[in-house]
Amino acid sequence: MTLMARELKASFAFVERNFNLTKRYWGWEFAWLIYSIAGALAVSLIGRSEGSERLLLVLVVGAIFWNFLSLVFEFIAETVQWERWEGTLEYTFMAPVRRYAQLMGSAIYAIGYGLVHTAVVLTVLALFFQLDLSHANFATAGAFILLGSLSFMGIGIAAAILPLMYVERGGQMVFVIQSVLLLVSGLYYPISVLPGWMQAVSHISPATYASTACGPA
């Protein structure tokens, strides 16, 4: 068996394991889905209250976009943290699996999970606001979401190392990074409204570019 095939097979261990964990924690998954839907609705309703269909669409797209990217980021960035909580970190690290196979498995599952989760949120939002999605360019939006998620995976992988370097604070640092990305990426507003220094930071967030490109689609 080639090295690549073996690593791919090993990465499936993480896909299957994460699927099983999602299944076993179904109650929390359901609660989290409701929370995501409520959050997306709450943000989007600002657009409805302003009577602006354009603002409504911007907020819906922002909410959908952030839902997906934050899920992908969380799954990957918390790969190590999860194992620490469960007490399985040493077992996994002792197995003959390279770290990139582990991260690849986590990333594959994160994208699959994020897509399903986001599709449900989008469906609810579309029904709630009776959005006409017949003119939406799903292919272009999908392409930019994929590009954005690839960049987010990179940041997620870098962030995943933090809980290894800082046992107590690593998880908290991941949470702060995620929060800053949300603030500076201009998902619900143009980045021009941000203070100058924040606009500078927004240029290093892949979500800034992906959301800007995704809007017209």
């Binding site: 068996m1 073996r6 097979k9 090993a10 499936f12 261990a13 299957e16 394991r17 099983n20 964990l21 076993r24 924690y25 469960e86 007490g87 399985t88 040493e90 077992y91 996994t92 690290f93 002792m94 197995a95 003959p96 699996v97 390279r98």
Partner: protein, 295 residues
């Protein structure tokens, strides 16, 4: 029909030993540790604490080698160093001729470890945890499942229990699943880090009997750390006494007793051997730990 265990054993046996001729292969120790030292920086002042201090060991293939030591003597650090979880400060560790630092993946393929706390995803069932382990080690999950059923049945866990979350199982049963998981990958070096600590007498006996059976039926070398002197005497071919990170004595259980027989006066026990060489009682340390847990 051959079992997964037999298939993987055959593969492990067929694996070429690097840097050695076939004539030398039989001389390759299962585990070779030479002048191994590891220290940690502890606390805000980064005070250095030497956990393993110039330890040397040579464990033969097929041996059950016991490491006895009080809490904090360096047993688990030594096991972690062998299992590639920690980097060495100095010294050398080889598993079947593979250097743990230069040939990390080769070492990982032939070892497995059972730690004192059964490290599982507790929400997942034994089946799900074992499937995860099988895939990590490149095994066919379906075949591994059958093998797991066989091993667990031998340990007294029926198939119908395997679908429930592990958190619903007793600590003894969880530890048996941990042992099954380790055996599933057919390690040629099995590191058992206090595998029976905290188990009820019945579970402890089951695990000990299974370790004996494993020694008799499989090509596995076992390193066993334990607090239980009776267990060490029953299972181990040789025992090393570890105190403050150093090996203070090493021999067969009988050999260790012989060492102190003259000065001890009466028939020595392994407990008296331990006290003679370390100047402390293993029971006292366990007592302290238990009282802390009670608190």
């Amino acid at each position: 029909m051959t079992t997964v265990l037999e298939q993987v054993n055959r593969q492990a046996t067929a694996r070429p030993e690097p840097r050695l001729s076939s004539a030398d292969a039989t001389d390759v120790p299962a585990l070779l540790v030479e002048h191994l030292t590891k220290q940690f920086m502890v606390g805000r002042k980064r005070k250095p604490v030497v956990a393993v201090n110039d330890v040397s060991l040579r464990i033969r293939r097929g041996e059950i080698y016991g490491i006895l030591g009080a809490n904090g003597s360096g047993k688990s650090t030594l096991i972690r160093l062998v299992s590639t979880l920690l980097t060495l400060d100095s010294g050398r560790v080889e598993v079947f001729g593979h250097d743990v630092q230069r040939e990390e993946m080769a070492v990982k393929r032939v070892i497995n470890r059972v730690s004192v706390d059964a490290a599982f995803f507790k929400k997942l069932s034994p089946h799900e945890n074992l499937s995860y382990a099988a895939r990590l080690y490149g095994m066919d999950a379906r075949a591994a499942k059958q093998e797991a059923i066989r091993i667990l049945a031998r340990l007294g866990i029926g198939e119908k229990r395997l679908g429930r979350p592990l958190e619903q199982m007793s600590r003894g049963m969880q530890q048996k699943v941990a042992i099954a998981r380790a055996l599933l990958t057919s390690p040629t070096l099995l590191l058992l880090d206090e595998p029976t600590t905290g188990l009820d007498p019945r579970s402890k006996l089951d695990v000990q009997t299974f370790i004996e059976e494993m020694r008799d039926t499989h090509d596995a070398t076992i390193v066993l750390t334990t607090h239980d002197l009776d267990e060490a005497e029953r299972l181990c071919d040789r025992i090393a006494l570890l105190n403050d990170g150093r090996i203070v004595a090493e021999d067969t259980p009988e050999g260790l007793k012989t060492m102190i027989a003259a000065e001890y006066g009466k028939e020595p026990t392994l407990k008296s051997v331990f006290m003679t060489f370390t100047g402390r009682s293993l029971d006292d340390d366990i007592g302290e730990e238990e009282s802390k847990e009670d608190d």
